[in-house]
Point group: C3
Chain length 139, copies 3
Amino acid sequence: MKATTRYLTFNVPARMDFIHITGDVQQVVDESGIMEGLCLVNAMHITASVFINDDESGLHQDYKDWLEELAPHEPLSRYRHNRTGEDNGDAHHKRQIMGREVVVAVTNGRLDFGTWERIFYGEFDGRRRKRVLVKVIGE
Amino acid sequence: MKATTRYLTFNVPARMDFIHITGDVQQVVDESGIMEGLCLVNAMHITASVFINDDESGLHQDYKDWLEELAPHEPLSRYRHNRTGEDNGDAHHKRQIMGREVVVAVTNGRLDFGTWERIFYGEFDGRRRKRVLVKVIGE
Amino acid sequence: MKATTRYLTFNVPARMDFIHITGDVQQVVDESGIMEGLCLVNAMHITASVFINDDESGLHQDYKDWLEELAPHEPLSRYRHNRTGEDNGDAHHKRQIMGREVVVAVTNGRLDFGTWERIFYGEFDGRRRKRVLVKVIGE
């Protein structure tokens, strides 16, 4: 069994935004030389997500509006968590809706995807440096 | 390490419905000959889910009502995504609540499940052919 | 490839609560002797979650309030599932928001975590004995 681990770094200028990372992940699979296995991609921060969905800007805006409805940023007093001096209580909630991680099949050296599947980094408390882990195991 | 990959196909007559697939997934594990490992089961479409919960029809109707509350199908104008000519903006949201994939332990050749765990394909934009990937790795 | 499987047992006195289990999971990784691989941690019950987020009590209370808003326990008649004699319809919904499982990279014998990542068992229908599966595969 082989294993390759890489850490991607992001510094998203907005509080909330989605970054397309399919190409970065496939590159790690390429470097691994693994033909059959599994690829884990996860946010290493608890106010961020990795998820798979459509690369369509209207949908991304829909997601932002919907997450803001489900877990609004303001008023900051809505969240006990913000009493610690943070202002990111909402981000911890948004991340639970969108998920921490994806696990993707690697088949014949490729991310084994349906036609429209794309991987995104979901940032909910941006404007600072954050990391995503990519680990591929297999043979 | 061994790896086996299969693609299941569904054509669900309703827009939204849940299909019990535990038997199909165990059959892939059987075919793999893998006794110890991990089994990934994921929707290959971004308006569908794979999730684990109860095989109880009342609960499934509860889920449908709740998902319709959280991300209603209508009005179609609710979603920017529908301006692309689609009418499935809601389905992309419902899928994020229910998840894309499950990873299940394979122990002694069996899906290592608690008493009531069952795997479902969750369709949110049906009436067309769609696929689920099952990949088992291990030894 | 090596594989180690362990079952953790919990009996949470409250209906809903979160239990910090990072130490228990790292101990399974230690026992496995695996240096590079993947670690699956999942609830074996369909009214419970395993999730990764902050070990901060204010945030945990925020989560409880939010989940109660999204899927209230009462009135029990809200859920068709409760017509089966159960009173845990809400718990099946809360678990879908928080997720069933996490998959964590094992790198150099350690759970490969960002600074604040911690694993929690999320109970939504407690006051009885329930199990969590931990499976580590790798080399």
